[in-house]
């Protein structure tokens, strides 16, 4: 005799005719069983001497004794999984300017040109000081300040003022503070680099792939490609900033699809050990160029699989490169670690894990919130830098956003087998469906994540031990 403990199930690979069933327990451990075992499990006839019984007992899917001990274990592990909620907002993004020296065709921030009005599009010193003060009111002992834009380096006085103010406040608070600057490196100066080095900055740059792909979308204000100049500046940057403090991000457009191998090769050639295959964000200038840039989610998923397979093959040859999103998902699938990721957690990270302070003093629950505001929709605006901290972070606006971003209570998500690994993206659903919760049957966000989980399980369950070893090794190094 046994009793069932909470789990979710789905026919393997979401194939309704599959003879296999994927089971995931309440805290995200999974097992694939035959449909015969599944039927016996449900009917209470699973043999207590079978390997399946032992496996499912070990996974806290069945309890052969008093369930209290299993409940204690599950509760502790559930708390661990949600530990990212403990400290509240740790990621604080600051838009120092909306001006940029590039006019990328998919720019979701709808960056203004560099020569546009400084007084209109740059954060002022006064706003910067208020922003710094609000950041340090967060109860989180760990604070990551990420400077964004436009190109953030075009307003270095504000960057420096915020760093100075935060460091001053931190003399007494003694938080663990980290600074990151997102910059295209196009016009970066050695003075800037020296400043970043002195203050232990991390740099996040953009590299869409080899020159032909990168230059097709990442152009300067005159419409010229930027690859050559950025590569030259990257070389200079590495004289100032340690390699492990420089990361690159790519954005996949239609030109990228089918070329993820070349993009990975470019990252390897440029000395990067990590890449994230990012799909397009449907905001800003990207919408204006949507017909030319976009693709279906099925097309992206196909390219993602090719790209990930290629990365695994490179790893087998001793070339160290990790696909960052796979690493995040695998950490959730294979470990008890808390892996907060603002755009994929439940409740959503909007406001409670990450927040963005715009150049004009407006405060948004997430980066996409300010992009929506730029497009005329203030739904995700929490207030201004002149508002009280509690009004912003404990106000009705944020409460209403979070209430609709809890997958444990969302239709389809609540019963989903991937629930513990997945999360909510209210901004994405609001932008595409005009609904924070979103209808998941119509959601590309949902489609993408279900496909990625299926694919990762397929890789983990394959007979290729080298592939499994590589994927497990990624999880060992914490994101």
């Amino acid at each position: 005799m046994y009793s069932l403990l909470p789990f979710r199930f789905l026919p393997y690979k979401n194939d309704l005719n599959s003879e296999l069933v994927l089971l995931v327990n309440y805290v995200g451990d999974y097992k694939i069983v035959s449909s015969e075992v599944f039927s016996k499990l449900l009917s209470g006839t699973l043999s207590a001497n079978s390997q399946s019984f032992y496996d499912l007992q070990g996974l806290n899917i069945i309890s052969s004794g008093v369930p209290e001990a299993d409940v204690a274990v599950l509760a502790t592990r559930y708390r661990s999984k949600k530990a990212y909620l403990d400290s509240f907002t740790s990621l604080h993004m600051v838009v120092t300017t909306l001006r940029c020296n590039q006019q990328c065709r998919y720019c979701h921030a709808t960056a203004k040109k560099e020569e546009d009005s400084v007084s209109t599009y740059d954060m002022t010193i006064e706003t910067a000081r208020k922003t710094a003060a609000m950041i340090m009111q967060s109860p989180s002992p760990v604070i990551k300040v990420e400077f964004q834009g436009g190109d953030s380096s075009l307003n270095m006085p504000v960057v420096q003022e915020i760093v100075k103010e935060i460091n001053q406040i931190n003399i007494t608070l003694q938080k663990d503070v980290e600074f990151v600057i997102c910059t295209n490196l196009l016009d970066i100066s050695t003075d800037d680099l020296d400043y970043f080095r002195q203050h232990n900055f991390y740099l996040s740059i953009s590299l869409d792939g080899p020159k032909s792909i990168h230059d097709s979308n990442r152009v300067d204000c005159a419409g010229n490609g930027t690859y050559d100049r950025i590569m030259k500046n990257l070389e200079i940057t590495r004289d100032y900033i340690a390699p492990n403090r420089i990361s690159a991000l790519m954005t996949a457009t239609r030109k990228s699809l089918g070329h993820f191998k070349e993009i990975v090769d470019e990252y390897v050639a440029q000395g990067f050990h990590g890449i994230i295959f990012r799909s397009l964000n449907p905001y800003g200038r990207c919408i204006e160029n949507w017909d030319e840039l976009s693709y279906s989610m099925d097309e992206f998923i196909a390219s993602y699989k090719d790209g990930l397979n290629y990365i695994i093959e490179l790893n087998k040859k001793g070339i160290s490169i990790v696909e960052g999103y796979a690493k995040l998902l695998l950490s959730r699938m294979l470990t008890s670690y808390s892996t907060g990721f603002v755009d994929l957690q439940s409740p959503a990270g909007a406001g409670i894990s990450g927040v963005i302070y715009d150049y004009d003093g407006m405060v948004y629950a997430c980066d996409e919130g300010r992009m929506l505001a730029e497009m005329g929709d203030e739904r995700l605006c929490l207030g201004t830098i002149d508002d009280d901290y509690q009004a912003i972070f404990n106000g009705e606006k944020l409460h209403s956003i979070i209430a609709e971003s809890i997958v444990e209570t969302t239709p389809m998500c609540t019963d989903c087998v991937y629930r513990m690994w997945c999360g909510a993206d209210p901004a994405r659903h609001y932008a595409t469906q005009h609904d924070l919760m979103g209808h998941k049957a119509k959601s590309d966000f949902c489609k993408k994540h279900m496909a990625l989980f299926d694919f990762l399980i397929e890789l983990l369950e394959s007979n290729d031990t080298a592939t499994r070893d590589i994927l497990f090794s990624w999880v060992g190094g914490r994101l």
Binding site: L5, P11, K82, P411, H439, A441
Partner: protein, 98 residues
Amino acid sequence: MGTACLDFDSSIFSIEALLNTGYWCADKAVLEIKEEGKSYKVVLTSKDETELTAQFFDDFKTMLVHNQIRANLKNIFADIEKTIINRAFRPIAQVNVD
């Protein structure tokens, strides 16, 4: 526009399972339900001009069975899930380590 009518025994399938299945196929069809006696009359109407295929109906019925299992499990798990959540988020006593 494709439309089909199906009957389901209300002693086997719950309204919850039917609604969840309707939600699942919402990108393909609109579902309407009416209770008549001991059965649910379900009308499925294609969202575009195409007819609903035999494969769609097979998938619908399979998904309905799965959703009924889920609904049954939800009843079994409700109390224990609540206990897990309450226990997970109860305050933990501070322990001072010298």
